[in-house]
Point group: C2
């Protein structure tokens, strides 16, 4: 199972990487934090493939290096807290890259083996539609729209898509929001449930984790 | 009723402008096509305020020029047909600007009178989630997410939001898609129904036009 995990240095990403290490014949890890990425790859006998998700040529090179995939997990993501009136355009673009454009570029260049699976970590739209999260909600919902179209386009290649709806998970993503809520899921628990669902046969189009 | 119509030179935009002309005490029209915009403003005794929606300073200047609004209608939009594998990044950015970032910037800088209304033209997500429309669907759903958060943030200012779900409307937007379907709504009919809903008291949070 040739597997690529995007966003491997985030809280959920690291947990996913550890749980994938025993199952993937080859595990490619990509993420923003080069130091964490290198350590994680070494610990798990995985392959580190850092790439800037907003940079088309880097994503293309990444896709070529990893070759045809059986599993692509998109766990990259960025969040920011700002009111609509205070929204900085540079931050909006940063979130757009991490949450949406990076996924679009990966799907543009990735090659897949028959019956390959793509899983994208998403949200419960109603849960995150709160003041201060407009850029986050817009880009996460955008990614959901992209998945719903890609699912149809890639069907003839035999590629299946799973949109994973996640509740709050206790990761550093919450730092700019003042910390995760007390009810937040532990990233280990989230990772186990994600992989259970994504590796199930058949895989559901949507996986709702509570 | 100080009114700003964004996307006034599009098919629905022009129809909206004509139907607004008798009702708005002051009607500001913005759009991409400068020649059509100038002619339309002259014909309707409206005020032309061209602006590049991706350009923050232009949007800011526009918002200052029009002053506190009673009605903001966001009818700008761009579409493109391309498979996920053929998606050009420049096109994705163009659609992001027209369908999402332009709205974010307008909401950032617009000033509103109490009880003001904002209406954003949207889609039926299931209807447009078809092969070739990933960039369109992603950016339109993104705008929907933005509206759902902005609605909550602006409530304390007394500003109300209406997301208008539109079926296919026979406009030039369909040109890159090979023409509108035969069942498409005439833009005049769409405009009448949009304004009926948006000017109703109370205005619905979501207006589903069939």
């Amino acid at each position: 199972m040739n597997t690529l995990l995007i966003g491997a240095t985030g809280g959920i990403g690291q947990a996913l990487a550890r749980h994938l290490a025993g199952r993937a014949s080859r595990l490619w890890l990509s993420g923003r934090n080069g130091q964490i990425l290198a350590g994680l790859a070494r610990d798990l006998s995985a392959l580190a493939v850092p790439a800037e998700l907003g940079h088309e040529l880097e994503v293309q090179a990444l896709a070529e290096e990893v070759g045809p995939l059986d599993l692509l997990l998109y766990a990259a993501g960025a969040v920011q807290k700002a009111g609509v009136r205070e929204q900085n355009l540079a931050d909006l673009e940063r979130l757009t890259t991490a949450n949406l454009t990076g996924l679009a570029l990966l799907l543009k260049y990735a090659r897949f083996n028959p019956q390959a699976r793509v899983a994208v970590l998403g949200v419960y739209p109603d849960l995150v539609s709160v003041p201060g999260l407009s850029a986050y909600v817009a880009t996460k919902l955008g990614a959901e729209g992209l998945v719903n179209v890609a699912r149809k386009e890639f069907r003839r290649e035999g590629v299946r898509f799973c949109l994973v709806r996640l509740p709050a998970v206790a990761t550093d993503l919450w730092a700019p929001l003042g910390g995760a809520p007390k009810t937040a899921l532990h990233p280990e628990v989230a990772a186990v449930r994600i992989l259970e669902g994504v590796l199930a046969e058949p895989m559901a189009d949507m996986l709702e984790i509570r």
